[in-house]
Symmetry: C2
Subunit: 634 residues, 2 copies
């Protein structure tokens, strides 16, 4: 089946890409931009910077000391290949098919006879293979190659890319197997690649190698580094860890693989360990946007409650990786909390990164921008991950291809089936066709302009011979949701709202989610946003931008009235606010509590979706808004 | 005169080390520990790690690829030499004198015939001289050699160390002079070293070379780096900059040199530029402790109002450098705001770093420790600057020797003279003897146990033939201070309290500073501490440690009553507090504002000086305390 993740068993099963089409709307337009702009954009940049030519130079024996790109640049090519493969399945796009063939040839020529494949190590005067497991990313690159090959195999069938990947995987198993080097890669990814490749080709030994890598980790297997071994999760065995820590993308790729291995091995202890880590990390180390990674220094999780909005790193790739983890946990358990978090992350991290034209990206996704970013030249590589503006390409350019593969494969994350029916988790105008284990076929068309409105109409597209269950996710924030069936409307609680019947074609079941803007308060232990409130609307976190204030400096002085519900605005909301008038004192600390000009006039400030911030040019922005007067109960 | 900084002119003149002795008290005991433990500790570590042997290897032509230490390890030897030199003047310590001689011999043997002196570049298979101005620190090292030589020259007179330094300085002037390489060093320090060396030996050409380095900076003279050229202040010429930015120690060493050059050149425009930068940086980018540097990633200043307590970097060395800047500005202008900030930084950054035994140090000085540090082995080098515990030595070990040289030379920062008398800025039990420009001699003994109490008795130690003015600094926080003279007590305002008279030996002038603990509120634009209050007592910032709470987790739940003055405790204060009872929810954000258990019992929490935190073992700690109920005016 055409799906990024296909566990051999689980509480629910994903629908494949061939069973889902997104026909427009919020995500359909983003998929279209991804297809028509981002995919070519990524290939062009990698050609221009010589990251593709790196493969040619290895093939031609002309590697030199001046190799362009970081040691993980190969992985960007593989992530692009994965995106292209999902795209061919989504649309049958011939340009994507041609790109896959063209890239595969160049990659294949660079592979060594024993299967080793890397453009930065092991050729000419390059450092020897596996001479820097901590930083070299060789296995990481292969992990992404394997994910690309999985996508190719599931969307097209065996071809040269799949054979290249198999040779590389076999090389990894020989080199790092039980009798080989006892090493692991500083950046997890090989594990999740091997596990899915093993499932895709039906060979358990690849899953077993993933298990071996997982179990080797956490024992100080890698050398210590100044940031400490927690940086690459080699501090604590994954079964014993209580929380995610260190580099967020590393932690999350590793965890995704742990779910895969736990499921394939029936290892409930490992699955429970991962669920525990998810629970604490989501409860205490995750931003309201779903963003993860509080620290710039190590691109890492901070400690519990360390969630500064201004220095939030919230790497786009960590959002991708978080979805990978939650989706796997959902497939294993059927728990709706995981698809809730996926929705939050999709709307507030993934959708935030790309520009409307699909040719520029946010790398970091802070929740408070103190000074507007400086406009960047679309022809230049951004050296910085934290510019406050979307950049065409980065020195470390992991995010564009990660967004591309996520959007191209997004259809696979919309719905699942269980033994009795269809379960819809993400709402988009779409057509869903599935077959249940006992052969019953279900077919629905979803009609909605969600999240513009909260009305989701599920139209039965084929008569059922027997009853089946339609289950619709009611997000945790959607208190007051209703379900209308057969002209009868009833309230539904957050969770899965289920309807069972022998549905007839044309029948419509309607879910109405409350889309009034709402104030959201932080746990008092999140010190960095004490005394502040956020505004959310449906799945979208909203923000204030300096574009919408009479004076850009007003963003520092803003104090909002949180005593009544914020009224809706088209696509957003507004709040009543007034400006503090802090005196500029020579010293920022003094005997008087913060003064507020009591006679300051109230005015209305519009809020817009966080994912659209800086679309109108560089701006100052904040999600968390200081409140005045303070809330009751403080 | 025996003083670290001797401008050729200025509003006030420093007293030399020979004119001041600190006879005990808060700083006297720290100077004693520095002398008896820290100086030898530093030399032992550098011997053990081979940082000293690096000099021998250059001399013997046996440099190899395995050179221990970073490229700036030479500077630690020079900073230790500077500390030893001040120590010889302070106490006539023969061990310090012997150490100077022994180190000087080893350093001198490593100097090339043309004056170049570096153990990491330019010998054997090392990279060539000045092949990495951005990161190589060659000129930085020489800057510290020059400061050591200044100390030696002023405490002992010309000797081999001074001659070594002169040869090195001449080499620098030849190599980087107007007709030489147009480069600058990625880490400023050569500038302040050259300027003071020029003043010490009376040769203006060294000051001129410092000016040349200063004026070359800020034009993109160095290569760009991922952190951007602001990291090493090569983004904006110093005359045009509005605020300090980038790496804090770099920014501050550079600024210290700018004051020196401005004074020597009568360049009021440059002096005013630096004062402007000081004003904005102190008002908006400085912690209540005086600490500077909000970011770990680049050890740098953040943006205006970006002052997170938990991720405060506040490097000890930035505290040292801040004092260097403020002292120079004070000598130039006589403005008491600079010595106010010096006091704050001395008590809350410098005093915080060393352990009571002088053999372990804080590198970073956060204002909130979320999890207790892990105890460190006193025989191991700490790879991390942010451990939450004091470490014996660091991989990058700039702070121990910087503390050592500051404490050894501290006598030089206590007092100044102007044309009419003596001005005392820092209060310690001490004897001060000075000669005014017209030959009048003034002599006082200061009796105080400040900051344990606020009573400072200045006892005239010699009959005056003519009237003179005694000026005593009244800190900005000391509203309600009084001065008693001749049995008459009068209120004195923050600033300088002056008394003029033909004083007779034995007369006592008493300054009484109010030492009641006080609540201090942050500017509302400092988002990270909104809704919090700090407690200060005299010059000391206080903190709560988990040691003093019934439950260590209570530090997350603490809410203090800020409606009445916090009562004093011996050496500290206490506050009334209660614990919030935040429910552990699966998601940290929700519709209800932070709940507070309204029936929670009030209890007393002791606060102790921040500088003593973690003296009783690893702890959780916070300076900024959440307030409940919220303050009036919010």
């Amino acid at each position: 089946m055409t799906s990024p993740v296909l566990p051999s068993h689980g509480r629910v099963r994903p629908l494949g890409l061939a069973q889902v089409s997104i026909t427009g709307g919020f995500w359909g337009s983003r998929q279209a931009v991804n297809a028509t702009a981002t995919l070519a954009h990524c290939e062009e940049w990698m050609e221009r910077l010589g990251w593709l030519a790196n493969f040619d130079r290895v093939a031609d024996g002309t590697t030199g000391p001046d190799r362009p790109g970081w040691c993980f640049s190969d992985s960007e090519v593989y992530k692009l290949l994965e995106a292209l493969a999902w795209e061919t399945a989504r649309t049958g796009d011939q340009e994507a098919e041609a790109a896959i063939k063209r890239l595969t040839v160049r990659i294949g020529r660079a592979q060594d006879p024993d299967g080793y494949l890397n453009t930065c190590y092991g050729h000419g005067e390059q450092p020897p293979r596996y001479s820097d497991l901590e930083g070299g990313h060789e296995l990481y690159n292969i992990g992404h190659l394997l994910q690309a090959a999985v996508a190719r195999l599931r969307t097209h069938g065996e071809d040269e890319l799949v054979r290249i990947a198999r040779r590389a995987a076999d090389h990894v198993c020989r080199t790092f197997g039980p009798d080989g080097m006892p090493g692991i890669c500083g950046h997890p990814e090989i594990e999740v690649g091997l596990a899915e490749f093993g499932r895709a080709v039906g060979e358990d030994r690849y899953v077993e190698q993933a298990r071996l890598f997982l179990d080797r980790r956490g024992h100080g297997t890698l050398k210590d580094i100044p940031l400490g071994r927690a940086y690459f999760q080699d501090d604590i065995p994954i079964r014993e860890a209580e929380v995610w820590r260190g580099h967020a993308v590393r932690a999350l790729y590793l965890t995704a693989a742990a779910v895969d291995v736990a499921v394939e091995r029936g290892d409930d202890e490992l699955l429970r360990a991962v669920e525990r880590q998810w629970e604490r990390s989501v409860a205490r180390r995750t931003y309201i946007t779903g963003g993860m990674g509080s620290r710039h220094q190590d691109e890492g999780f901070g400690e519990d409650w360390e969630l500064p909005p201004d220095r939030a790193y919230c790497e786009t790739c960590a959002g991708v990786a978080s979805i990978m983890v939650s989706w796997r946990l959902h497939l294993a358990t059927g728990d709706v909390r995981y698809t809730d978090l996926i929705e939050r992350t999709l709307y507030n991290v993934i959708a935030t990164s790309p520009s409307p034209d699909g040719r520029a990206f946010f790398y970091a996704n802070p929740l408070h921008q103190r000074t507007p970013g400086r406009p960047v030249d679309p022809d230049e590589v951004s050296p910085r991950a934290e510019a406050g503006v979307r950049a065409a390409w980065f020195d470390v350019s992991c995010c564009p291809t990660n967004v591309a593969r996520t959007l191209a494969g997004l259809n696979g994350y919309l719905a699942t089936t269980d033994d009795d029916g269809l379960r819809i988790h993400q709402y988009a105008p779409s057509a869903l066709r599935a077959e249940l284990p006992d052969g019953r076929r279900v077919a629905v068309d979803v009609e909605t302009d969600y999240p513009a409105s909260g009305t989701v109409r599920v139209r039965i597209a084929a008569d059922a011979s027997e009853p089946w269950t339609l289950a619709l996710r009611v997000p945790a924030w959607a208190a007051g949701a209703t379900l209308t069936e057969d002209g009868r409307t009833r309230p539904v609680e957050p969770g899965m709202a289920e309807v069972r019947g022998a549905f007839r074609a044309g029948e419509v079941i309607t879910l109405d989610l409350p889309m009034e803007p709402r104030f959201t308060w932080p746990d008092p232990r999140i010190d960095a946003v004490r005394g502040c409130v956020a505004v959310e609307r449906g799945p979208e976190v909203l923000c204030v931008e300096s574009h919408d204030l009479p004076d850009a400096d007003g963003l520092d002085a803003l104090a909002v009235d949180a005593r009544s519900v914020p009224p809706a605005e088209p696509g957003g909301a507004r709040v009543r606010a007034r400006l503090r008038d802090p005196a500029d004192r020579p010293w920022a600390y003094g005997p008087g509590a913060a003064a507020l000009a009591r006679d300051a006039e109230w005015f209305d400030v519009p809020l817009r979706p966080y994912h659209s911030w800086a679309h109108r040019g560089p701006s100052r922005m904040r999600v968390w808004l200081p409140v005045s007067p303070p809330p009751e109960g403080e």
